[in-house]
């Protein structure tokens, strides 16, 4: 898969990297058990700070998408669920848009409930 970051973009670099890994899982380019590039190597080839990559990987670990193990590096979890992740991405976009419109959490939940047939 392609890791692509824009150092001039407003979005933090760590978030850009995390988003690309999520996209890779959603599109099936990254399958469970697949190893991500070692953080040091990715930082080197993208010419960014090692800690930025580590922050991105830690974020993905907190989202239960990858496992970080000493010596084994970052591995896509067996239960990394592309289908669920796709929904999470849609929900994220929904929440972003709702926030822009000034909606509060209770109103967002109400809209989701309304959407159920």
């Amino acid at each position: 898969m392609l890791f692509r970051v824009d150092v001039a973009a407003a979005e933090p670099l760590a978030d850009q990297i995390a988003a690309q890994v999520r996209g890779g899982i959603v599109r099936g380019e990254l399958v469970p058990g697949e190893r991500l590039p070692p953080a040091r190597e990715l930082a080197d080839v993208l010419d960014i700070n090692l800690h930025t990559v580590l922050r991105a990987y830690a974020k993905l670990r907190d989202e239960n998408l990858i496992e970080l193990r000493r010596g084994r590096g970052a591995v896509v979890r067996d239960d990394a669920d592309a289908t669920r992740l796709r929904l999470v991405e849609l929900a994220r976009r929904f929440v972003d848009e709702a926030r822009r419109q000034g909606l509060r959490e209770a109103e967002m939940v109400a809209i989701v409930k309304e959407a159920q047939p």
């Binding site: 890791f3 824009d6 150092v7 001039a8 697949e34 991500l36 590039p37 993208l46 960014i48």
Partner: protein, 302 residues
């Protein structure tokens, strides 16, 4: 096409020699003949003549089949040459051995006849000469990709993992066969076990990266870099369909002017290097790294 037919026939010629000489000589040959020679040309190993001949015939036939396949595959000159050398050598070993035995059945001496083996190996060159020059293969159906659009502030890296369950399976079966042979009959074979195991470790899982450094192949299970091509050495990168026979088979192949990691037939990335050599690796969606490397080349030179 005619020249290729002739060259395929030339690969079979030594097989014919094997058949004719057996028909002519087997009545006069002892049941057991010298099959191995020490450094001074004296016999130090003996075996049944029919078994020795049969083994060489099988090798010759296998080379003959490979020769026909190679003649039908455009660009498979290396395989064709190898097939010629193998069948030539098989017949030459038989001629040298049987000839030495016939000359003096009581005390066979190899003598000058070991030179025949070299002549047999050179047979591959004759086969290659008959086939004529390699056809100029224009990269048809493999359009050069448009470079990936890169903003000056963008940084991109490609990483992909190749898996080859088939190659892993085959090497593990080979390892099992060697282990059984070593355990039951030939303990000297134990070190040979290292070969399939090393192959499995190196090529069962390979990570391919393309980035500002160039192209790299890293053996996944052990983390050893098996190939590094610097960005500056890359002339062009193109997606192509990889036919294993055109690159000399499956696995890590090295032939004059080109090398390749071929884990299956199908799409792959082909690099043309500045020094005229080519490198290929089988990959899903090779357009992605091809477009990236093309863009990085442009960025580096512009």
């Amino acid at each position: 096409m005619r020249r290729l037919l002739v060259s395929a026939a030339l690969v079979w010629l030594p097989v014919g020699v094997l058949g004719l000489t057996w028909a002519a000589w087997h009545g006069r040959l002892p049941d057991r003949i010298a099959t191995h020679w020490n450094g001074t040309g004296a016999a130090d190993g003996f075996g049944p003549a029919s078994w020795f001949w049969g083994t060489l015939l099988a090798i010759g036939v296998a080379a003959g089949v490979a020769g026909v396949v190679a003649a039908r595959t455009p660009g498979a000159r290396f395989l064709l040459t190898t097939a010629g050398s193998v069948s030539g050598a098989a017949a030459a070993i038989w001629l040298a051995t049987a000839g030495a035995t016939l000359a003096n059945p009581a005390d066979a001496r190899l003598g000058w006849r070991f030179l025949l083996v070299f002549a047999g190996l050179v047979w591959g060159v004759v086969v290659a000469a008959a086939a004529g020059p390699r056809p100029v293969t224009a990269p048809v159906g493999a359009p050069a990709v448009d470079p990936l659009e890169l903003k000056p502030t963008e940084r991109v890296a490609y990483s992909s993992t190749l898996r080859s369950p088939l190659l892993l399976g085959v090497t593990l079966v080979a390892a099992a066969v060697v282990a059984v042979a070593a355990a039951t009959t030939a303990p000297a074979v134990w070190p040979v076990l290292a070969l399939p195991l090393a192959a499995a470790l190196l090529f069962a899982r390979v990570r391919v990266t393309a980035d500002r450094r160039g192209l790299r192949l890293v053996a996944g299970l052990v983390g050893v870099p098996v190939k590094r091509i610097a960005l500056a050495d890359i002339d062009s990168a193109e997606p192509a369909r990889i036919a294993p026979m055109e690159w000399g088979g499956w696995g890590y192949r090295v032939a004059p002017g080109r090398s390749a990691l071929v884990l299956r037939s199908g799409p792959g990335l082909v690099l043309r290097l500045r020094d005229g050599r080519r490198f290929a690796v089988t990959l899903d969606e090779p357009e992605v790294p091809a477009a990236l490397l093309t863009a990085l080349r442009h960025r580096a030179s512009g």
